[in-house]
Symmetry: C2
Subunit: 352 residues, 2 copies
């Protein structure tokens, strides 16, 4: 008996030298996107895999998709209330609840993915995000960027601001508010009916995402002008963690969740870039009639002014909104100077 | 006694439900850079922290810097031989040993960080890297990109290819070979003597990195033309792991090392971008005489041709070199088309 006891004690000592809490943490995650959604569907599954693998099974994640939880844009409430421990979503979907949430996904005429990432990690972004989400009882981790979005598919060329006035456009969110301000008529048509609406002329243009996401919807078959973007120069997604759940986790599991998020984020941006490269290449060769266009300078200026007016109005109402806006604006001004002489100059001069 | 035994058994059962190997893995890491090197010094320390935190102390990493191991560019041999378990370095430093290693850090006229990352993760890059490093008994993880480098500090403006002929330039690596091919005289002067050499006219130009790394060396005080880059559009660093050491680790620790690398890589790129933004802003305001220039189109074309000739010669000698070169070239051709209509078009049109 003593011998058995001694062996057991020795085993315990060796094990507890790297003590873990000895508990299985079963966490429920609600995702905005289905598991079959390009890029994003894989990202949430990879998160589960990395967390479970690194924790040696001490964390087990159950993912519920919208087909189950029925509320793609209810993730903030799910995680805030504790109905779910974790969420996978994009911050700007909660703009109606709190306009400040949009700063962490995308702003018209805002930062590129690299600029936003630098601001977020080292320029005070993360801390400002925490100020926004603390009161929702949520800890946020960046989950990756789907990249600079295209401006959308247009049936007619846009030559002046007047061409946008009265134009029927499907463009959601803040981009839609900006276009409405300069006189476009903003439509909200369900995804499944968009192609028909564009073909029939119910709408004149549709803003979606980028080649990897657009191609399957076939807009290029009925609208030949593919405009470069202005409304979402980056598009960051997020993991939400219920703060009480997070705080109760031992430190090693906290580090595992944070680090898994970072890996998922990095791979998501690379995968979106990769897919866009390949889908654009395919689209261009199969549909040589597609014409890439950018809005003329005066149209861009009008959109930018409209965006700034809306932002300034909001900032006047909410000091934290103003604080974040000022932080992003001043960082962007400096950041763009560097971007222009580094990656931008290289692409401009070396791609000839 | 029975009661104690029962309690101990219960503790063991609960613990071994999430069994780990119960061992402390003490790993030695050799770094190319000192712990005080901007950006890179923090990255290797963060790697240690993330791995140790996530493993609950089951991995312990000791970092040796060049001041101790005396061989910044000996990391490949250190890890290959097992003298060190881990290394932190940049692949292209081993170009003399194996020219294929350079593909994983940077190529003149090659991919930007986002393009290279997409190729590496999803376009076959990682697998080709494994083919190169398998025979060195090394498992590689990408450790992050310091970003698009500047073309260097020049005392005189470069207006034609003739201006580069006979010019005395400090530029190491493949970039140096390319400039030598078109007639520049390549100098290798120790870092500490570079400023003086540039001031005295021993050299006419110096290629270093980018504002965050350049400013401290003061080149802007003696050479006013700051050229945009062509020679290192990205600059990837790497973690090396001795393959035998890696294979012996339990699966959870393998995942922890891989995921920690990914987080370090993502943060390193953001930090380099952030620092370059701030240093460039500071440099520009304190030294308004600095002029940003790009080489004229015919100079860029001559450099590109020279680079391609050297690459093609090497490819003729080594089928795997050719395989990687072909893979990068065909991916780059497609990738640049997407980059131009997404981030590039956005910056061009929205920054006015």
């Amino acid at each position: 008996m003593r011998k058995i006891l001694a062996i057991l004690m020795a085993m315990l000592v060796s094990t507890f030298a790297f003590a873990n809490d000895g508990k299985k943490h079963k966490l429920k995650l609600a995702s905005t996107w289905e598991g079959t959604t390009p890029v994003l569907g894989d990202a949430v599954k990879n998160f589960k895999t990395y967390v479970e693998d690194m924790s040696g099974g001490r964390i087990e994640i159950r993912i519920d998709y919208p087909s189950k939880h029925k509320s793609s844009f209810g993730i903030l409430d799910f995680v805030k209330s504790g109905q779910y421990d974790l969420g996978y979503t994009a911050s700007y979907y909660y703009k109606g609840k709190d306009p400040k949430t949009m700063f962490f996904t995308a702003l018209p005429f805002g930062m590129t993915p690299a600029e936003l990432h630098a601001w977020y990690e080292f320029g005070g972004g993360k801390e400002l995000e925490a100020k926004v989400y603390d009161k929702h009882n949520i800890k946020v981790f960046s989950a990756g960027d789907t990249g600079t979005q295209m401006g959308g598919w247009f049936k007619k060329e846009i030559k002046s601001v007047d061409d946008l006035k009265g134009l029927k456009v499907r463009i959601p969110g803040f981009g839609g508010e900006v276009m409405a301000k300069i006189g476009s008529i903003i439509n909200t048509i369900p995804t499944g009916e968009l192609y028909m609406a564009l073909e029939m002329g119910t709408i004149d243009a549709v803003e979606w995402v980028s080649p990897a996401f657009d191609m399957g919807l076939g807009f290029h078959k009925v609208a030949k002008y593919y405009y470069t973007g202005w409304q979402e120069p980056s598009a960051q997604t997020q993991f939400f963690v219920n703060k009480k759940v997070y705080q109760k986790l031992p430190d090693d599991l906290k580090a595992i969740i944070e680090t898994a998020s970072s890996r998922v984020a990095s791979e998501l941006y690379a995968k979106a870039y990769f897919d866009n490269i390949n889908f654009w290449s395919k689209m261009k060769s199969e549909f040589p009639g597609i014409e890439i266009k950018s809005f003329p300078d005066d149209v861009m200026a009008a959109l930018k002014n409209a965006a700034n007016e809306i932002l300034d109005q909001e900032a006047a109402k909410d000091p934290l909104f103003k604080e974040i806006l000022d932080s992003q604006r001043s960082f962007l001004a400096k950041a763009r100077e560097w971007t222009k002489i580094s990656e931008f100059a290289y692409i401009q001069k070396a791609s000839k």
